[in-house]
Amino acid sequence: MAQISFISVALKNLKRKTFRTGVLVFAIALLVSLLIFAISFTVSVASSLKKSSERLGADLVVVPVGARGFAEEFLLESKNTSFYMPFSIIEKVRKIEGIEALTYHTYLSSISGLCCDIMPTRIVAYNPETDFIINPWLQKSLGRPLQLGEAIAGFGTSENLGLGLLDIEATIFNNRFKIVGVLEQTGTGLDHALFMTEENLQNIIESGKSPLKKGQISIIFTKLKKGLDPDFVGRILEGEIPEVDVVARSDMGEKFISTLADINKIFLLTTILASVLTTFLVWAIFSAIANERSKEIGIMRALGAKESHIVRLYLIEVLVLGLLGSIIGVLAGTYLSALLAGSFSLLKNISAGLTVNQQAVIAMVGLLVGTTICVTGAMMPINRIKKMEPLLVIKEE
């Protein structure tokens, strides 16, 4: 049979009052789950925005003046919006010094009715000659360029439900299209679009059902020469071409970021309050424990326990409590984050998701914070316990 150890004595102490132990574990679990949820929410939104803007691969995005919000909604939030500017803007942009490459998209929203037999969705028409955004995705998924009369579905479109709809035909603005495949997930708002080359647009315009007019485009993506500051070039662009707004890659999702900053403040305040309350609870419970077990501590000291032995014994108790509560909190927080993600419009409209690495780091932060708070709350009572005069506490009846 195994001999007793500090760990076995600490565990037996924890089992002594299971309700009290349960309350402490529950409190720590609540705090950690709140923390995990807050961090997961913030990190998933922030990293999704960053990932989306990076995936687009453009240093600057040029949109019609006043359409910046619409463009972000389209590219990041998967919202159906249409905005147009004259094709001639492309040449004006090309002339700006520092522009290395550019391409453009034209966005359309399909409508319910006889002209379209697909669910209302977003249509992206691109120029296959200049494109550096869709082509890499297409190469990976289809292995060849799209032909006239062909379209490919984004990962999150209705057409991709069940994945059995490949090689189906669809009518879009009275034109028959063959859906030839599905793109891999990109994590951008474009996951919810149907893609086709711009040569199809002429026929769509001629159908008369689309708001699009000849010679219009929606957005221009530009790549800058190496070493140039996107903000600087963006300011020049806006100065030279008053009809456009320019969004630098780092500024994509500004609306989200400012909302996120406000949410972060609320999360931070709530987490601080919960941390203070939990620390106080741990302090109160361990103070009670110190009083309850003072005679036992005196006996242990008389049996040869050093101050460090007493500290070790109670620290193990605290660490077990902290770790147990934190592990439950991490699991609950992660589950809550997944469960409630759909309830937040901020998360619903963007392709938010955390990588395994991010989840691991957040879990580690949760474990660390939960355990640290537990130890912090218990340190003062533990310090008092170790300083107790053995004879005085032994004689206390």
Partner: protein, 223 residues
Amino acid sequence: MFLHIENLTKIYTVDHETLVGVDNISLSIDRGEFLSIVGHSGSGKTTLVSIIGGILKPTAGRVLLEGVDICTLDDSKLSEYRANRIGFMFQFASLLPILTAKENVLLPGIFNPGPKTDKDKIARDLLEMVGIGEKLDSYPSQLSGGQQRRVAIARALLNKPDIILADEPTGDLDEETEAEIMHLLQEINKTQGVTIILITHNLGLAGKAQKQYRMSRGQLADI
């Protein structure tokens, strides 16, 4: 001299009032002696053994164990002294309620890992020796007062101490059990050569020791 107490004094200050717990006591004890100290409550008996046991610092004087003054040891050394050389028995049931009889006996072992010995076997043998070998896995709440004292004796012996300090170990026991515990202590003293200092207010019990002292108002006198 094995244990030499020299001009030992302990003064307490309670609410600005000075109380003399131990008043200039000097005493020499040989290895393997069994001595008893009788006295009324508040006479200073517990204070004296607490100082000898290293759980209380004196105001003045020295306690020399084989020439080493334990009153000058720091907390860590004093804890080692208690763990290695002293076995305590208290005047109340001093077992930890969360531990079984055997675990209670093993408890001093975690504070004094010492050489790699099979402490589990030692604990079993000790419980066997004190007559409750069948109660290894019983919790204190499942043991009688006498059985709990026997566990406390076994626990005091785990680390093979030089001195057992028994502070009224039979205080709340019936006469029969009291006699059994006393007999057990005498056996341990005889067979293992452990020095025993027994504190009691029972003159009959004190008379069974080799030397008897009386304590009154912090002062010690031969009986």
